[in-house]
Amino acid sequence: MEKTDIPPLLIVGCGTWSPWFENWDAFVAKVSGGELEEHGLKAPAASVIPGTERRRAPLPVKLAIEASTQACAAASMDPAQLPSVFVSGLGDTQLTDYMCRTLASENKALSPTRFHNSVHNAAAGYWTISVGCMRSSNSLAGYGVSMPMALLEAAVQANNEQSPMLITFYDAPVAPVLQPLLHNRHAFALALVVTPTSALDAAEDSKALGTLRLSSGAGTSSWPKLGLPAPLKECYETNPAARSLLLAELLIHKNKDNPVTVPLSNGTHMALEIS
């Protein structure tokens, strides 16, 4: 049993946000030869978060929520009905920095809001609270393999429960003290809504952006190189969430019968095909 196939999933909605594009259409336009300039916004609107909460929501939370909102809208699916998997490879290092600085000082009193915002599942928490979703929500960390790990988790769960799922990849710039270790300088988020083929009827099938086929197998792999403009290339290589740019590329260009492999662990890889 050296290869395990996961039943195919339809990708029915995408959302994204980065310093260079604020949504999926802008991403597609820019990556197909448009200019790659920064739009200058420090954070996305994430307007689904209620006003008072939104003011105090940290950047990683806003990134995740913005991409998730877009993906659900594109899929024409009610966010409250979707189980979800959120993944951040690096966590909220700005909040870690705040807490460690405060605790290293004389006055160790922490802000209670910032403390409960520092849990790794803050994005999942804010999301489910903002959209009123009581379904299962997961929050993972997979360091360099965060992207395939979250994809695996969501795909397995979607099939297991025969349910559409939201998958959201997000990572924010690393705080200065930790940057020599964790590198990432960019904000990036991408979200997908996927559904098992059996959970959609034929009319809705045609709205799918692509069919995702995943398998896991023995032997590790290296990351494929993407033909991206320089700042996005650096993002892809240093922002664990931005490894999902590979999915975006495959979604636009498709790689039917020509699977691409990515590392899943030291002894396994994941093969990806989008048709």
Binding site: S118, T128, V177
Partner: protein
């Protein structure tokens, strides 16, 4: 679902391993102590594991990894992992760890020794200052090369680890999963919970009318899992703990409160949904559950809200919170209390609610401070985390 629990170990203030944990439960001996964590003057009680400072892990050094390492060395765990790796290949073994602190203890320490605003040499540990630290360390420590991930959903983390493990196993991603959790005491956690006014300056009293807050603790634990439905020979070959019976994960339920980051849903809707979800996936009626281990943190809010839901769903089951033995071990609470349930099934012994004097007036729970010897077949455990993240696990004992 028949996810066989081949072997398991637990390290907490109640005991360095399951054998010691049993002794603490039988003798009703709490492992809590007055807070003596260096650098912290908060007036509270904690569940501290002695000796972690002496464990040396080179570039993996952190209190969290030290505790993960200590637990991994207990009982038959390491030997069984080695035997299974030889049998199926190390790439067919997966790791799913739950943790909320992840090694922030090390990052805290690093910030007290900044060298001109930068991390000093010995703290330049990318794989430690990282939310995936626990799975990264355990995979390396155990020589496991299959998929490895850290789940961080606050206090439900290492309960959810079982659900993820079950899905990987039934899908055939791997043949074995080392599921577990680890969290350690650190200033972030003590001062963080203190800032939310959730911490008690007394030994905690879950479910008690006079409870006034939680005690924090640290723990690590592991459960080695095989899908007995798709891999019956492997599951039988490595049968576990007692010759007369085996215990399996039979069902799980996961839900969200959609209410508030640090306060549970006032009617316990998410908690109820998770418990019903576990019953549904297990295809069991509530009346069949013999023992329920509550999340029961000793906070004013959680215990009343959860307690009412448990009493309503499981009026005849023995119920208890066991957090007075080792404190609330956060991301490791799921694995710690899953192991207590699994062991309860093996021993036909439902632990009582240690430190309970008078049950909260609002509760009609079938609980008492004393342990109860009672034949048990099914047990359920709850773990609820910040952000309103809920997970319930249902375990079944099979007699041979």
């Amino acid at each position: 679902m028949d996810i066989r629990v081949i072997t398991y170990e637990s390290t907490s203030a109640a005991g360095i391993n399951v054998s010691e944990l049993r002794r603490a439960i039988d003798t009703r001996q709490s492992g809590l102590r007055r807070n003596d964590l260096p650098g912290s003057s908060i007036d509270t009680w904690i569940g501290k594991v002695p000796g972690l400072e002496e464990i040396e892990l080179g570039h993996w050094q952190s209190r969290n990894n030290a505790l993960a390492d200590l637990a991994y060395r207990q009982g038959e765990l390491e030997a069984t992992v080695e035997a299974l790796k030889t049998q199926v290949g190390s790439h067919r073994v997966g790791v799913v760890m739950g943790s909320s602190t992840s090694s922030i203890d090390r990052t805290e320490q690093a910030y007290t020794e900044l060298d001109d605003g930068s991390l000093a040499e010995k703290y330049r540990q990318a794989q430690v200052h990282n939310p995936d630290g626990p799975a990264l360390f355990v995979a390396e420590r155990a020589g496991i090369t299959g998929p490895a991930v850290t789940i961080n959903t606050a206090c439900s983390s290492s309960a959810k680890a079982f659900a993820t493990a079950a899905r990987w196993l039934t899908t055939g991603i791997v043949d074995v999963v080392l599921a577990g959790g680890v969290d350690t005491l650190c200033l972030s956690v003590l001062h963080g919970f203190h800032s939310l006014q959730l911490v008690s300056s007394n030994p905690c009293k879950p479910l008690d009318r006079n409870r006034d807050g939680i005690n924090l603790g640290e723990a690590a634990g592991y459960a080695l899992l095989i899908d007995a439905d798709s891999n019956p020979e492997l599951a039988d070959q490595f049968r576990n703990v007692s010759p007369g019976a085996s215990v399996s994960l039979r069902g799980y339920g996961e839900s969200s409160d959609a209410h508030h980051m640090s306060h549970p849903h006032p009617e316990g809707a998410g908690a109820r949904s998770a418990m019903l979800g576990a019953l549904a996936t297990a295809k069991l009626d509530p009346g069949e559950i013999g023992y329920v281990n509550l999340h029961g943190t000793s906070s004013r809010a959680n215990d009343l809200i959860e307690g009412k839901q448990v009493a309503a769903l499981f009026p005849s089951a023995r119920a208890s919170s066991t957090k007075a033995w080792m404190g609330h071990t956060l991301g490791a609470a799921g694995i710690t209390e899953a192991i207590i349930c699994i062991d309860a099934l093996h021993r036909d012994l439902a632990p009582g609610t240690l430190n309970l004097d008078e049950l909260d007036d609002g509760l009609e729970l079938n609980t008492s401070p004393e342990n109860t010897e009672i034949p048990l077949k099914y047990a359920l455990t709850n773990s609820f985390g910040f952000g309103g993240n809920n997970c319930s696990l249902l375990f079944e004992k099979h007699l041979r």
